[in-house]
């Protein structure tokens, strides 16, 4: 068990190394002079030179990379070209709304998706099942910003139940904080719910055909314990896996959702950084999100051993 955990943790190191190397070399893979790429089309030669100096782009690639990794290991992501603030500071200022949004979406999605997936599997082939799976196809097809605008139009503009956009920090009260996050979370969660519900249904269908389910039925067990204790527990490995993998959808979707609902989080920071061609900021955000994603999936792998004692690598 401990051996597995140690090995699994160590296995994330090469993955993170590849991510870091890739994110760093992007600047050099892109055609043209990196400094000129960052400076943009309208830059004067002096501006390009200044960027080259400030980022140390005139040094050899390997020197730059090792220096960059060294600073990375000291939690230094460099400085923004536009504001000249450390990227870590800028990220720290914007992380609360994004974390709130993704965590609420995660909780909301899992609490909705798993039960409806179980329901669809239980009622497989019926109208309920078709309706849920039909919803899943729509969830996959309607982009997050479309759902976002639709929800905001109906529930904020027309019905005026919830605020149209904006964000209130949790320090100013839990209720206003939640109020602002309900619509964005539903919008962001749709595709995630669709994904989890689909996998839940598939995994449950597989398990419901097993002999021990028939035994449980034969001994007169009620439907609910059969579904949620016997079946769901045994179907949980693929479900937990997809919850982990789906985090990528949440992270990508958060960038857009924050634009639609004017939430001042990391997504807005990304969009601003793109418009200003502030590459160190983009680099930092991509690295941070990838790091979180790797950690989440590491967590998922470790959870496997808890939910399924047969898994021992």
């Amino acid at each position: 068990m401990i051996g597995y955990v140690v090995r699994r943790v160590l296995a994330t190191i090469p993955v993170m190394a590849v991510v870091a190397l890739f994110v760093f070399s992007l600047l050099f893979i892109a055609p043209g002079d990196p400094a000129a790429v960052i400076a943009g089309d309208q830059a004067t030669p002096e501006q390009v030179e200044r960027i080259r100096q400030s980022l140390g782009l005139d040094r050899p690639f390997l020197v730059q990379f090792s220096d960059w990794v060294w600073r990375l290991l000291h939690a230094d992501l460099g400085r923004s070209i536009f504001t000249n603030l450390p990227v870590t500071t800028m990220i720290a200022q914007r992380i609360e709304p994004t974390m709130s949004l993704t965590l609420i979406t995660l909780v909301l999605s899992v609490t909705i998706a798993v039960p409806i997936g179980v329901l669809a599997a239980w009622k497989a082939g019926t109208l309920i099942d078709r309706a849920i799976m039909g919803f899943a196809v729509f969830g996959f097809s309607v982009p997050v910003f479309v759902i976002g605008y639709l929800l905001a139009y109906v529930f904020a503009l027309e019905l005026e139940w919830l605020p149209v956009q904006g964000y209130t920090p949790i320090s100013q009260g839990v209720l206003p904080w939640l109020e602002n996050l309900i619509l964005p979370s539903i919008a962001l969660g749709c595709v995630y719910i669709a994904l989890i519900a689909r996998i839940t249904r598939a995994a449950m269908l597989e398990v419901l055909q097993q002999d021990y389910i028939r035994t449980a039925r034969a001994k007169g067990l009620a439907q609910t314990p059969i579904l949620f204790i016997h079946a769901l527990k045994n179907a949980s490995v693929p479900i937990v896996t997809v919850i982990g993998i789906g985090i990528a959808l949440l992270i990508g979707g958060a960038v857009v959702t924050e634009s639609v609902f004017a939430i001042p989080g990391l997504g807005r920071l990304t969009v601003d950084a793109i418009l200003r061609r502030d590459y160190p900021v983009i680099q930092g955000i991509v690295l941070l999100f990838s790091f979180v994603y790797v950690l989440v999936n590491l967590g998922v792998d470790l959870v496997y051993t808890l939910i399924d004692p047969r898994i021992r690598y």
Binding site: P143, V146, S290
Partner: protein
């Protein structure tokens, strides 16, 4: 569709007339028929955009800005007085081009990488570590990072999304190849002295096509969404190009008062992605019954 646990005998006996051929296929897989029909409509819209009563989608006319939909401007006009109907019709070109181009490019490159990885032992661990790394970067962010470094153009958007999608395809192909090369008929081919390139061409490649086709439709759908997202946040095709994401980006500032600017491209985008997903789901059911049961 899951089968009932014990079908009544009566259901088994009547001779079922299975219609063969293309029509029969569409009848047995209505999702392919519906999605395919929708998709064909969209392709026709894209191809014949200039003949659908449209005007030049880039013509500015500041005297008629943000008009509501009317007989003259079916979908209204945007902030610069451009006809949204024309822009939406032309926008189909961008979305479909990006969707199909990414699906084809990512499939071909992913197929090549997956084949090498599945067939060449020593390359496998290196390639897969790289793919693991790339897969840990959420695709939209990877595309954003790539677009931040290049000029916004349709070609660069295709390239950026393709790079973001390749790892998933190569993983899929590798998995299929690894299981195929353990098949008895591959052993038989090896025993018969068939050369490796021939084994790949005759025995491995054809069997990767079914899962690849299904995967390609999903990539197409995801590419169209990512393109719209990139354009929407200003990292995609240049604003002058009428893409659905761009039209929505232009409508963003005004959406509370002029929701129609966002509405029409949103509907077309969603319908197109839905069409592609329906085709994908149908093909998955048709081509891979085992997978169909699993999902």
């Amino acid at each position: 569709m899951p089968q009932p646990a014990a079908p009544a005998l009566g259901d088994l006996w009547p001779p079922v007339k299975v219609r063969r051929g293309f029509v029969g296929f569409l009848r047995r897989h209505p999702t392919v028929a519906i999605g395919g029909a929708l998709l064909i409509v969209m392709v026709l819209v894209a191809v014949f955009a200039p003949y659908l009563g449209t005007v030049d989608p880039t013509t500015l006319n500041t005297s008629r800005r943000t008009r509501a939909p009317s007989a003259e401007f079916w979908f209204g006009t945007d902030m610069l007085g451009r006809d949204i109907y024309s822009r939406v019709m032309y926008g189909a070109r961008v979305s479909l081009t990006v969707g199909f181009a990414v699906a084809i490019c990512a499939s071909l490159v992913g197929l090549a990488i997956g084949l090498v990885s599945g067939m060449v032992r020593f390359a496998d661990s290196i390639i897969m570590r790289i793919m693991d790394g790339l897969m840990s970067i959420p695709p939209i962010l990877l595309a954003i990072a790539l677009m931040a470094l290049t000029r916004g153009s349709v070609g660069n958007v295709v390239l950026a999304i393709t790079i973001a999608e390749i790892p998933r395809v190569s993983r899929l192909v590798r998995g299929v190849v690894l299981s195929l090369r353990e098949q008895p008929y591959v052993d038989a081919a090896v025993a018969a002295g068939t050369r490796t390139p021939m084994i790949i061409l005759r025995h491995i490649l054809p069997n990767t096509l079914a899962p690849m086709t299904v995967q390609a439709t999903y990539i197409c759908a995801s590419a169209m969404i990512i393109e719209a997202i990139l354009s929407f946040i200003g990292a995609g095709v240049p604003p002058i190009v009428p893409s659905w994401g761009n039209i929505m980006a232009e409508g963003r500032a005004l959406w509370q008062v002029k929701p129609f600017i966002v509405f029409f491209p949103a509907v077309f985008l969603s319908m197109t992605v839905l069409a592609v997903n329906l085709v994908g789901d149908g093909l998955r059911d048709a081509l891979d019954p085992r997978l169909a049961k699993a999902l």
